[in-house]
């Protein structure tokens, strides 16, 4: 990778230039784009520059560090599964579980499964009306409960397989659009626009000996794809607008994951590998502020007693501004046990600055503190783009496909 050597003055000029360029990006134009997420991402990906690489890596680093993971089991393993089974019924769930075990009764590498008990357990279904009930609502918790499983093996022939299990739950989210009657009305209207004008042609009459054939299946698939594309376009735009209007809504998410080491993949030779828990909370402060709190506890049992350690990472951050421009101040810290002699067991870092949303999921930051220290190194271009803490820009704003 080619690197630029910049003087502090040039670095400051570059930051100002980047922020000015970003400020000229009309947000309304982004709204008008019906495939915003994909298009924006493509634009960034296509920029074959070292600074773009830096931006992506930095963004990914921040996302993985400061949000409750969507799939705690995968976060515990430190992997990104290529394929995730998401069963819609109890039967599919059992089939999915079975797929995690090979013909020798050993855990299968790369296995990943995510399921919602409200979807797969008969009688646990949650209607929209039940979901929207105010106050302490067990049905809301149930609907937002996700369990996950995964298996992975570290590099090396003798490394044990680790089977991880996790759970994630939204305790409350004032920015949940599915509890907002106005959003639901707009959502219903949006998806209704994608209805087909008529049934597919060529449907045999009732009682006909001609049943479903390949042509009819193709026509149904074509209708389906067209309708879903139309819905995706409308609902992404709607959801993005809603999230921007509720950027500082209060919320609380928690997640837990644990793991078992399986020697040679065998369930009979298992050993507890460790635990990890996450919590993030957002607190709305008036119309223009938000306080974010983050905690991440790790208990790692390592391969033997000397390798055991606990780590507790925490952060607090205050944003003030709007959904597209804000100032921030944050304090991050970590306390760790089992560190070698001479290595401090705790450390804190702070940073403060300004952020400007340049494009969907792309923020340009300028400021002071630890978060920016590495960008001040002479061999690094002094523009750090960070995605705001994951709690504020959730995956549904920029789905990963």
């Amino acid at each position: 990778m080619a690197r630029s050597r910049l003087t502090p003055g040039v670095r400051a000029a570059l930051i100002c230039w980047a922020m000015l360029v970003a400020a000229t990006v009309p947000l309304a134009a982004q709204d008008a784009d019906t495939t915003q997420v994909d298009d924006d991402t493509t634009t960034i990906d296509d920029a074959e520059s070292d600074s773009a690489d830096l931006v992506r890596r930095a963004a990914a680093s921040v996302i993985s560090s400061y949000s409750v993971p969507d799939m705690p089991a995968a976060a515990f393993l430190g992997t990104t599964p290529a394929t995730i089974a998401r069963p819609a019924t109890a039967r599919d769930f059992l089939i999915g579980l079975a797929s995690g075990v090979d013909e020798h009764g050993q855990a299968r590498q790369g296995f990943a499964l995510e399921a919602s008990p409200s979807a797969i357990v008969p009688g646990f279904g949650v209607s929209l009306e039940q979901y929207r009930e105010p106050g302490v609502n067990p049905r809301y918790l149930l609907a937002n409960l996700l369990i996950s499983l995964g298996a992975a093996r570290a590099a090396g022939d003798t490394a044990p397989t680790v089977l991880a299990y996790g759970v994630r739950v939204t305790l409350f989210d004032r920015g949940d659009p599915m509890r907002d009657p106005a959003f639901l009305e707009a959502l219903g209207d949006s998806i209704a626009r994608c209805r087909p004008r008529a049934p597919i042609p060529g449907i045999p009459r009732a009682g006909s000996s001609t049943g479903m054939n390949a042509l009819l299946r193709d026509l149904l698939a074509e209708h389906h794809d067209r309708a879903v594309r139309c819905m995706d376009s409308h609902t992404r735009k709607l959801a993005r607008r809603y999230a921007r209007a509720h950027w500082n809504a209060s919320s609380l998410y928690v997640a837990y994951a644990g793991g078992e080491q399986l020697r040679r993949g065998s369930f009979a030779r298992r050993r507890h590998a460790g635990d990890r828990a996450w919590a993030t909370s957002a607190l709305r402060v008036g119309g223009i502020g938000q306080t974010l709190l983050y905690a991440d506890w790790t208990h790692d049992r390592g391969d033997a007693a000397p390798d055991v350690f606990d780590a507790f990472s925490y952060g607090a951050r205050f944003n003030v501004g709007s959904e597209s421009v804000n100032g921030f101040a944050e304090l991050l810290g970590q306390a760790r046990s089992g560190t070698p002699a001479g290595v401090p067991g705790r450390a804190t870092a702070w940073s403060a600055g300004l952020e400007l949303r340049a494009a969907e999921s792309l923020w340009i930051s300028a400021g002071l503190g630890e978060r920016f220290r590495r960008t001040a190194a002479p061999e690094v271009v002094a523009v750090l783009a960070s995605v705001r803490w994951g709690i504020a820009l959730r995956s549904w704003l920029s789905p990963a496909e």
């Binding site: 919602s116 639901l184 998806i191 209704a192 209805r195 009732a206 609902t235 549904w396």
Partner: protein, 123 residues
């Protein structure tokens, strides 16, 4: 295999309910085709937020060998890749029509959407 629903009593209207069981917004359209004809006639449509409540209902005068075609869309942008469950229920005189409970299950896409369309043969 086309679902066969019935037997239908031609002397009583059929009531059809469409409801989401999984916290998704829904939109739907229903068409009807009488036996011996090729024309589909839309007889009901609805969506979340249209003031009809969470369970949408439609009533239809029909007969054996008629057909119903449905399109049901579900959406929850807050939960991509999520399992969904919607149900079509056919009743006559407040009694479920045999085989008249149609479960629509699947997993939404990255934007939280999916749709299903299919037809039913009434017998």
């Amino acid at each position: 295999m086309t679902p066969r629903v019935g037997p239908i009593d031609p002397t009583a209207p059929v009531r059809i309910e469409v409801a989401s069981q999984s916290g998704h917004a829904v939109a739907f359209v229903l068409w009807h085709r009488l036996p011996g004809t090729d024309e589909w006639k839309k007889f009901s449509e609805g969506r979340t937020g249209d003031g009809q409540g969470e369970t949408h209902q439609a009533t239809l005068e029909t007969q054996p060998h008629a057909q119903i075609y449905y399109w049901v869309a579900v959406s929850n942008p807050a939960r991509p890749h999520a399992a969904y469950h919607a149900r079509l229920t056919l009743t006559q005189r407040e009694t479920p029509v045999p085989h008249g409970s149609i479960d629509l299950r699947g997993t939404t896409d990255a934007a939280g959407n999916d749709s299903v369309e299919q037809w039913l043969d009434l017998v």
